[in-house]
Assembly symmetry: C2
Homo-oligomer: 383 residues x 2
DNA sequence: AACCGTTGTTAAAACAGTTTACCATTCTTG
DNA sequence: CAAGAATGGTAAACTGTTTTAACAACGGTT
């Protein structure tokens, strides 16, 4: 396919310099479209053209755009009128190239098959997107596939000036490439997790508090044999839950058992299988704490289809409070994580970090328990 | 906070011109960090620096980067070696500014509260993201809030050179601002829908085929009184389903009834309410076709909690085949939409459209039925 | 009147690439 | 062997903005 001819400049460079106030409002360029017919295209409007038409310098227009206090009110109005009249929109590639920032932040998701279709990520993303929009930033999404990281594309994001900063969702200590960011001082915030060494900036939910709230509930309902379906032991926040679970049992005078702990892989199927294993190991178990809602749902599905009533025989508590699960049957008691707010905060802090307003980011947001139908009083205590 | 001092150039412009082959591999600039201590920062590497070090012109380096056939094998290797040695990465703001494309495409989502946490959008997005990555394109996400559209930010996306093209997910004929794209010939593809006037490029699933497959199944199972929970009558593809549903009934010698049609708003709750209305209007109804899985799930929830067994009393068929619903109880018979593939195709076609390789895009992908537990034979026909 | 300090504006130099027109070579070919 | 074509490379123009240093005009002090 032949390249269409470029616009030919209607006047020479030097002529330009001698005719700063030239009337040029009717300038048009003739261009040929694919059909070979002529077509009138309005002169593409850039800052130079606006300056010419307004009878000021390019610098003045730029300063009007950026609301510089050095421009007088009258000039500001005059130039703004011309900008509106000509429908001028500054080219942001040029702006970013010449300026310090791209005004774009990336969101990096883990290489899971359904990362985009995930309620957990989606909720955080909503918060990020809303705040990014308010702050005048655009959002780029990337999935950190192994190939992507191996080729160093995560660093290219900064080095080729795609973005000013990155928000990382769903990663844990196994993803060691994240340290690359810290090593180069590239703005990056780990969302809903932290690294053990605390070298990476982070923002996460208070998983210890959440686990405490869930355990308090189950213990108050009289449960003594409480199983736990955990996942991702390489994730510090996931470990927080297990540790708090164990500590809660101890504090209640119960000896925790290794038998009560099963990995559910954060998946529906894993949760179902974990419930099976738990009850086969110890039929006394009357309550199960799950590391996320998906596993809790899987567990409930296994239980209800294998002769255990929920919550009559076994109580189940989840973690996340993802949407549209309030309608599960029975509906799920779960620890609500403020994921939307977490996204908002992450985005806000990232921009502050980019602007150099903060040196280090480490924030924790409180959780709360949502009581629904999947928990009930311990059998023996019921009247 | 004080602005850190910029790098001061270690040599004047003219000196530069007279020392094209200068040894400069050890050049460093001294910069002061916030603590006021000195810090060595490697000279930032741009195309000019690479050209100097390799002893060629800037144009040559550029042509090596773009694999121009006008560069000899020996020069290519020499320059590539220097590029690798210096760790040079072209600034893509400069590339896009001077070149024709940004290599970025936007995905626009409707202003729904949980647009990012949606399994339907997520699946399409996965396909888009995968293909965009392969084509060397980045992905920008936007939510088309009313404010966003009102301020013309959807057009800014092109006019300020954020992106080369846009993929629109989840919109329908009510979203008239989409015509703005067509009017300006900005590359945009409507994903999984079309506009009645066919002026907009589109890619969608074959909803007629899907509805046909669902209806064939229900009719073959002996159902004669079949309700339908539709939604979004302003969506042409949604109308396809209703029309095919009606036509199927007629073709089977059944007189369709207005009573059998209820709007379920594409939501879980809407589906539940629709099921209630349907059965109150006509208790004879033994099967329900739902416009998406969410509504089907809502319907099943209503039915099972109000004394109707699924599928023994009422069969339910969904539409979409979203993930993690195979595990619902009973698991859902549904029309599988190739959403991932649709995303892939949309992205591919958009890039072709951007490159001018195609003038108009209009593609339809076939569906298939996934038989699971929510459908069964009509009561009276069972042995 | 000379000097100083504002205030408002501008020319020119970045930013970092791509593209084009032109210029040497070297290779064919009549 | 001279003319013409092909090859490989380069200088300079171009993309569209921000930013900085310089400066003109003007008011207010000594």
């Amino acid at each position: 396919m032949p390249t269409p001819p470029l616009n030919s400049s209607p006047e020479s460079k030097s002529a330009d310099a001698f005719a700063p106030s030239r009337e040029a409002s009717k300038e048009i360029t003739v261009r040929f479209n694919n059909a070979g017919t002529e077509e009138k295209v309005p002169e593409k409007v850039n800052i130079r053209e606006v300056a010419r038409q307004a009878g000021v310098s390019v610098a003045t227009v730029s300063m009007v755009l950026n609301a510089s206090p050095r421009i007088s009110r009258s000039t500001h109005i005059k130039v703004q009128k011309m900008i509106d009249k000509m429908g001028y929109r500054p080219n942001r590639l040029a702006q970013s190239l010449s300026g310090r920032y791209t005004q774009v932040v990336a969101v990096m998701l883990p290489p899971l098959r359904h990362a985009f279709a995930d309620a957990y990520f989606g909720e955080i993303l909503s918060g990020i997107a809303d705040r990014a929009g308010k702050l005048g930033h655009k959002l780029l999404i990337e999935q950190a596939k192994p190939q992507f990281v191996k080729e160093g594309k995560h660093l290219e994001l900064y080095e080729r000036r795609f973005v000013d900063g990155v928000l990382c969702l769903g990663f844990n200590e196994k993803h060691s490439f994240l340290s690359d960011f810290a090593a180069r001082r590239y703005p990056m915030i780990l969302v809903d997790n932290r690294f053990g060494d605390n070298l990476l900036d982070y923002v996460h939910c208070d998983y210890r508090l959440g686990a405490q709230q869930a355990m308090n509930c189950l213990l108050q309902l009289g449960h003594r044999s409480i199983g736990m379906v955990y996942a991702a032991p390489e994730s510090p926040t996931a470990r927080d839950v297990v540790e708090t679970y164990t500590a809660s049992l101890v504090a209640a005078g119960i000896t925790p058992s290794e038998q009560w702990l099963v990995d559910g892989c954060f998946t529906d199927e894993g949760g179902a299988e974990a419930a099976r294993v738990l009850l086969s190991r110890d039929p006394q178990i009357s309550a199960i704490l799950c590391g996320n809602d998906k596993m809790a749902l899987g567990a409930i599905r296994y239980l209800t289809t294998h002769g255990h009533r929920v919550p009559d025989d076994v109580s189940v508590v989840g973690f996340d409070d993802i949407q549209h699960l309030a309608y599960a049957n029975p509906s799920l008691t779960t620890v609500h994580l403020p994921l939307y707010e977490l996204g908002v905060l992450a985005c806000e802090k990232l921009v502050e970090r980019i602007r150099g307003k903060v040196e280090h980011v480490a924030e924790v947001l409180p959780t709360h328990l949502v009581l629904r139908e999947s928990t009930g009083m311990m059998r023996s205590l019921r009247s």
